[in-house]
Amino acid sequence: MTPTTSAVPILELRGITKSYGSVKACAGVDLKVDAGEIHGLLGENGAGKSSLMKVLLGLVRRDAGTVLVRGEEVALDSPQEAAELGIGMVHQHFSLINGLTVWENVALGDNGKVNKQAIRTDIAEVSARYGLPIDPDARVGTLSAGERQRVEVVKCLRRNPQILILDEPTSVLTQAESEELFAVLGRVVQEEGRAVILISHKLAEIAQATDRVTVLRRGRIAFRAVTAETTPQLLARQMVGREVSLGEEAAALGLVPTGERRKGGGGGPEGQPPVLRLAGLTVEQGGVRLLADVDLTVGPGEIVALYGVEGNGQATLGDVLAGLIPPTAGTVEVTGNRVDVTRPGALSKAGLGIVPEDRHHSGVVLDMSVAENLTMKSLDKVSGRFLLRRRAMLAEARRLAGEFNIVTPSLDAPVRSLSGGNQQRVVLARELSGHTLVLVAAQPTHGLDVGAIEDMYARLRAAAAEGVGVLLISTEFEEVMALATRIAVISSGRITGALPVSEATPERLGMLVGGEAA
């Protein structure tokens, strides 16, 4: 057992078990958290981290096990009950309501009369205390991801929770924003004596911010330790259950790669026309400029990163390149030919593949089979003029699944039943199949675990090596540094600068991200 303090832990879980149907999300989990500590919770996708926390929050009812808060056994049947016990959570998904204002969102989950003034005062106070400025009257739908996260944190802290749970809070944050958040957490723990449970895939964060760490694997505790006594390598091994290389792939774990940096410039032969050229791309919606005059080129074999803080137009650009929204002005050229973006499928016909930011949203059809998802962009290959040819479809799918190491119970299984990493591989495989000349990868490793990230990086590199131009849209500094040959920075919908990776430093990029050097 890990060393424990003599005092009663503020929170203790014993033998928590939770199944969804035949899936055991948690199987007999024991966990102790002390006041004044940040406790890291690690695990691959689907390891059961969120489920465990939902149990703690009264959102799902545990099948077995006991929960003790300050040594006393508690029932935890509803989020209100959890709130009364001083348990608060910043959720991974779905917890703010876009249609409501910030203060209304903050007020949700309280009890009693809605006192707008009091809530606004509270917000102001919490904001000031932790340095999280926020406009209480803004509609949440209009906020950037970082701002939303702030709202979440303020909402949670306003309740004055003794136990604060954060489920992957940094996956949508920039480095600076993450650091800001950890600073807040540090104060919460040290000065105010609360306990924090921090869930993350980023080992660097865990290593930096937590006091102790627990690793979940397939619903069971695989490992626990005092953070200072472990290494990222050890943690990574415990998460995945096997050795992972930590050389170049360090970025996967949130560490800046130590390996030698690649040289700038295009990977392909000089003089060849760019495979992707965006010229003057502008998108306006409701009078707001989401993208302003974006010019960008990607050469064959080149990996160009578009780096920036979430909510600065990357999602819009991704949507334009996925053919989901038409640009107000500007052109997209693939290998020198202008593509009519408004025609569905025109981009993909022209040879552009895209791994969208939110794969559930626009990457896969969860309720269709793996085979169908793999072949849906190349229907010509697997169907006649009229009827589908099932055999051809399966053959093609089998080929891709093999090539991309997609782990699936069967090609007919719905994609929904695949793990996140494998779902992402399905998208990648589909988008790289056929005559792909450009691959746009938007936040390709979001929510993936270390093994899956490793694999994704290898594939992107392999694609580039084969001459595919890759546009990597990412908010992760390490990722960009690890993969890109050239980095363009986007801020408030415009490109504020571009530089080869060899010249990129956190400081320079940070200035560009801030929109300073235009």
């Binding site: 929204i325 499928g345 119970p409 069967s410």
Partner: protein, 393 residues
């Protein structure tokens, strides 16, 4: 292989296998359906007893009117065809994630178009029937297409617009059949009063039937509906087009990205669903279910009932066949039941209760299992509001 996935393949395999076999859920559903039919029957029996009717005689009457003899079968099968057509149409657009609830109006407009063509065109027999049916389908499609256009260009919620359009359709048909220069019947005598109905379609504008009353009569309409159902089922599951439709229904954004013209396809399926409803209207005109005249009451709830059929069949065309048959049994049997003197209101109540008994069990079983995601759904969970696509406006 990479072990990156934590989804245990063995476990998954077992889960998948379990889905294929008629498992506990299916038994539960069946049992619950029986139980609920029992409850509905019990409540109905109570009501019947209170009104002095005999429940057992009523049950017998439903049986007599629908399945006991060739006449009953004829009536039931005549009722099956239009219900099935409406339901299949509903399945098509539900597969594309669009929820049409305006079938009642589309049936009427189909009838209007069919009657107009049938009464205005002089053509030899079989040709005329075909033309009437085609006109009816086109009419229904056009009516539904209006809703599709409203969605496309103004983002108007489809269930809402189709519902409102139903009320407009009723008034339009009423107008047509009470306005002499449109479709109102002509009268012989000077002082004679024309009813609010059209003239009867000529006898040769009737669909052929096989067999004669009182022996079993099978109307061509039934074959038409069955063929359409099988065709739609195959189209949805096997064709390239159906593949795209399902994609749009399950994730319009992915579909759009994959090159499907989402807005157009969504609109097309809505129009198609209108076409099937309109065709059902045409069938009401040209088969002996009805009077071969256009009347405001022509649709006689076929649209609503057909929609219910699709919902009960969970938007699976093949499943709609038995379900529409069951509904037709209720319609035919219910009619017969009211001929025994049981107030028609009570018959309506009994029918409503039985519908609930059919609809509830699958949902309740899912609920009991706490996780609907575990059943692979052939069609998306129908939501009233179709997933909004960020399609080009």
């Amino acid at each position: 292989m990479s072990a990156a996935s934590l989804s245990d393949p063995d476990d998954l395999g077992r889960r998948l296998l379990a889905r294929l076999r008629p498992g506990r859920r299916d038994w539960m559903t069946a049992g619950l359906t029986l139980a609920l039919i029992g409850v509905a029957g019990g409540v109905s029996a109570l009501l019947l007893t209170l009104t002095g009717a005999s429940p057992s005689a009523s049950l017998a009457a439903i049986w007599t009117g629908s399945l006991a003899n060739t006449t009953g079968w004829t009536t039931t099968l005549l009722n099956t065809a239009p219900l099935l057509l409406v339901a299949v149409g509903a399945c098509v657009c539900a597969s594309a994630g669009t929820f049409n609830i305006g079938q009642e109006g589309q049936v009427l407009i189909g009838g209007l178009a069919g009657a107009w063509v049938g009464l205005r065109l002089a053509m030899p027999g079989p040709m005329l029937v075909a033309v009437v049916l085609v006109a009816a389908a086109v009419g229904g499609a056009a009516w539904a297409a209006l809703s599709a256009l409203m969605l496309r260009f103004r983002g108007v919620n489809v269930p809402v617009s189709t519902l409102l359009m139903t009320f407009l359709a009723i008034q339009l048909v009423t107008f047509a059949v009470s306005t002499p220069w449109v479709l109102q019947e002509s009268v012989q005598g000077a002082g004679d009063i024309a009813d609010a109905q059209s003239n009867a379609l000529p006898a040769h504008a009737q669909l052929a039937g096989f067999g004669h009353y009182p022996s079993l009569q099978l109307n061509t309409g039934l074959f038409l509906a069955l063929v359409a159902t099988v065709a739609v089922a195959l189209l949805l599951s096997r064709s390239r087009w159906g593949f795209k439709v399902r994609m749009v229904g399950l994730n319009p954004r992915t579909a759009q990205h994959a090159g499907v013209r989402v807005a157009a396809l969504g609109g097309l399926t809505l129009a198609l669903s209108g076409a099937f409803a309109g065709l059902a209207g045409g069938l009401l005109l040209t088969s002996p279910v009805s009077t071969n005249r256009l009347q405001a009451g022509l649709s006689d709830n076929v649209g609503w009932d057909g929609l219910l059929v699709a919902l009960v069949a969970r938007n699976r065309p093949m499943a709609a066949i038995p379900v529409s048959f069951v509904f037709a049994v209720l319609r035919a049997g219910g009619d017969f039941l009211s001929a025994t003197g049981v107030p028609s209101y009570l018959v309506d109540i009994v029918k409503a209760l039985l519908v609930l008994a059919f609809v509830a069990p699958p949902v309740l079983v899912d609920l009991f299992h706490g996780r609907r995601g575990a059943t692979p759904r052939a069609a998306p969970a129908v939501s009233v509001v179709p997933a909004k696509t960020e399609a080009a406006a």
